[in-house]
């Protein structure tokens, strides 16, 4: 295979891997918004927290797989605490209060992370089986990126099964369209809300662990991912998982090919895409019309 094609394919893999991670974060955000009308500005802070947990568990157990399982769960636990003891109490005060509260929480998480782990970037080592390159069809692919893509697809499949094939999924979907009515039917909606919030944060946690070996762990992770994920949710349309998926992949590819061709303007491409979409459809690609 000639080098030009190889470059295109390699950049494509990078873009897809980043797009999938982006989707994991954005899907949690859009799920929580679609169901609970909460704009969780602390979402990216939890994403970062998961990366730090991954580092911590890895240095304690030395086992990446244990960290991969434990870190998102530990993160989700903190997310549930926030939902249960903070967000629920101010639900009546509307969007503004939620935004300020979640900004406050993200500042506290950022400060806490700096107190416990300092501000240096911490390396996360991946197990030997995931490192290196694999040869497929005469080309080398980085194994870890393929693993990230595969893992994200598995998580996506599980989520889809859960949402569309189980009773719980049915309740969640019903709650998205009319939470009060579902509550009146005798289903414990506050509990379902807590569960969905936990799952949303767990998804961000999985993404945080997935990105840790690629970017290393440092406090700037939050800002880097947070804005991208928000732009994905806005462009894809609030509450739309399909929109989040498509836009995540587009953004992943835009950023990796963008870096290749117009390196200094790569971040602008994403925002320009968003601006064009919003100018035509103010509610996003798959958003419902108001």
């Amino acid at each position: 295979m000639d080098p030009t094609t190889a470059m295109y394919v390699a950049q494509g893999i990078h873009g897809l891997a980043y797009g999938m991670v982006l989707f994991l974060v954005a899907s949690g955000l859009t799920l929580i918004f679609g169901m609970m009308d909460i704009l969780n500005l602390a979402h990216a802070a939890f994403f970062m927290l998961a990366a730090y947990f991954c580092y911590q568990f890895l240095s304690m157990t030395g086992n990446f797989w244990a960290a991969l399982l434990l870190a998102p769960v530990a993160t989700a636990f903190f997310g549930i605490l926030m939902e249960r003891f903070l967000l629920r109490k101010i639900h009546a005060f509307g969007l503004m209060s939620q935004l300020i509260l979640t900004v406050g929480v993200s500042l506290v998480i950022l400060a806490g992370v700096k107190i416990f782990w300092g501000t240096e970037s911490l390396p996360v080592k991946i197990p030997p089986i995931l490192s290196g390159l694999v040869m497929i069809g005469g080309m080398d692919y980085p194994v870890y990126r393929l693993f990230v893509i595969g893992m994200s697809l598995v998580v996506l499949a599980i989520m889809a099964l859960l949402l569309y094939k189980t009773r719980l999924g049915k309740i969640v979907r019903a709650a998205v369209s009319d939470a009060d009515m579902v509550n009146a039917l005798g289903i414990n909606i506050p509990l379902v809300f807590t569960f969905v919030f936990g799952v949303g944060i767990w998804l961000a946690g999985v993404a945080g662990v997935a990105i840790a070996p690629i970017l290393t762990v440092y406090p700037g992770l939050e800002a880097q991912m947070g804005m991208d994920a928000f732009v994905v949710v806005i462009t894809g349309g609030f509450g739309s998982l399909a929109g989040a998926f498509i836009v995540s992949i587009i953004f992943g590819l835009l950023s990796s090919y963008g870096v290749q061709f117009v390196s200094s303007l790569a971040p602008v491409l994403m925002f320009a895409f968003m601006a064009i979409v919003l100018a035509i459809r103010p509610t996003g690609l798959f958003g419902e019309r108001e």
């Binding site: 704009l39 903070l86 109490k89 101010i90 005060f93 969007l95 503004m96 209060s97 935004l99 300020i100 509260l101 900004v103 406050g104 929480v105 993200s106 500042l107 506290v108 950022l110 400060a111 806490g112 700096k114 107190i115 804005m227 928000f230 732009v231 949710v233 806005i234 462009t235 609030f238 200094s264 303007l265 971040p267 602008v268 925002f271 320009a272 968003m274 601006a275 919003l278 100018a279 103010p282 509610t283 958003g287 108001e290």
Partner: protein, 332 residues
């Protein structure tokens, strides 16, 4: 009337305090006060949208930044530009920018409006960082000449003297504040509140809702631009992080909420409270983020109506004629 007399005395007292302030407190606190005043005007302009028309401009920093960059670029590239001319350029830039966004943003409300602004604000931030040739990237534009305030043949005041700049900034910001206050008191201001409370009814009454929103939007953007312009002149520097970053947008939201939503003077109180808190916390600890985060959480949890809400509660509890007779129900 007694009340009117008291009011006059208070006004005169306020003006005397403002005039004497730099002489009494010295340069450090004078500069602090200018920062506060800039943030206060900026927050009031934000509240003009949120509190009066329920439009949540979650990227308000973009107007602040456009105003600042407009002034800085004008001073850098146009030789011999006067001070007011430079400010006018900043104002014009903010107005033009608001006019460009208008057709898109007046079509949406609620969280879609907020997110659109978050996104456009971030677009401006990235552009300011990346278009190095024009904006200077991370370093921003600094060291541009600050012209003296002059009326030809009458007076010329050197603006590089901090006390002089203080008076200039206070006058400009005071006039801006007065115009915004006046703006909310006009019949148009009433339509504005009507749009907030029941847009459909305002529409039935024959007023044009999108156009009303557009006018408020441009006015709010213009005054955020004035604040940004003064800020650029004050620092003699405008950079992406200080002008366009998400924290600048948050500052307006935080000031408004801490001070009290929907009251004209709430954001000013909020700006003062946050400024004092920041000043005090930086003196004792370098964990400013932690303190700021905890304060935000505490305010939202325990005083969701902000400072003005607390004032109102205290007034009702102890100073209303019926105090003591009615037991206030606990506001949950």
């Amino acid at each position: 009337m007694m009340n009117k007399k008291v009011q006059w005395i208070l006004w005169v007292g306020l003006i005397v305090i403002l005039i004497l302030y730099p002489k009494v407190f010295g340069i450090y606190y004078t500069n602090l006060f200018i920062t506060f005043a800039v943030l206060a005007i900026y927050s009031v302009s934000f509240n003009l949208l949120l509190g009066y028309t329920a439009l949540f401009s979650f990227g308000h920093a973009m107007f602040f930044g456009v105003g600042g960059y407009g002034t800085a670029l004008a001073l850098k590239h146009i030789a011999g530009l006067s001070l007011l001319g430079a400010m006018g350029m900043g104002l014009l830039a903010a107005i033009v920018f608001a006019l460009i966004l208008c057709p898109i943003v007046v079509r949406v409300t609620g969280s879609a409006f907020a997110m659109l602004h978050l996104a456009f604000g971030q677009l401006m931030y990235v552009l300011a960082l990346k278009l190095r040739g024009i904006t200077g990237g991370e370093d921003g534009i600094g060291g541009f000449p600050i012209p003296p305030f002059s009326i030809p043949g009458v007076v010329s005041i050197n603006m590089k003297v901090p006390a002089n700049f203080y008076y200039f900034a206070i006058v400009v910001l005071g006039v801006s504040l007065w115009i915004m206050w006046f703006f909310t008191k006009t019949p148009f201001g009433q339509i504005q509140v009507g749009v907030r409370d029941n847009a459909m009814r305002i529409d039935y009454l024959g007023f044009k809702v999108p156009q009303t929103k557009a006018v408020v939007y441009v006015v709010a953007g213009a005054f955020a631009g004035v604040a940004g312009s003064i800020f650029a002149l004050f620092q003699n520097l405008i950079a992406a992080d200080g002008a366009f970053s998400i924290m600048v947008s948050f500052a307006a939201v935080i000031n408004t909420l801490v001070g009290g939503l929907g009251s004209f003077f709430g954001p000013i109180c909020g700006a003062a409270i946050m400024q004092i808190l920041e000043e005090v916390t930086t003196r004792y600890t370098d964990r400013v983020e932690l303190v700021a985060g905890l304060i935000l959480i505490l305010v939202i949890m325990f005083a969701p109506t902000g400072f003005m809400g607390l004032v109102r509660l205290v007034k009702e509890r102890w100073f209303s004629p019926s105090a003591g007779k009615i037991k206030l129900e606990k506001v949950s």
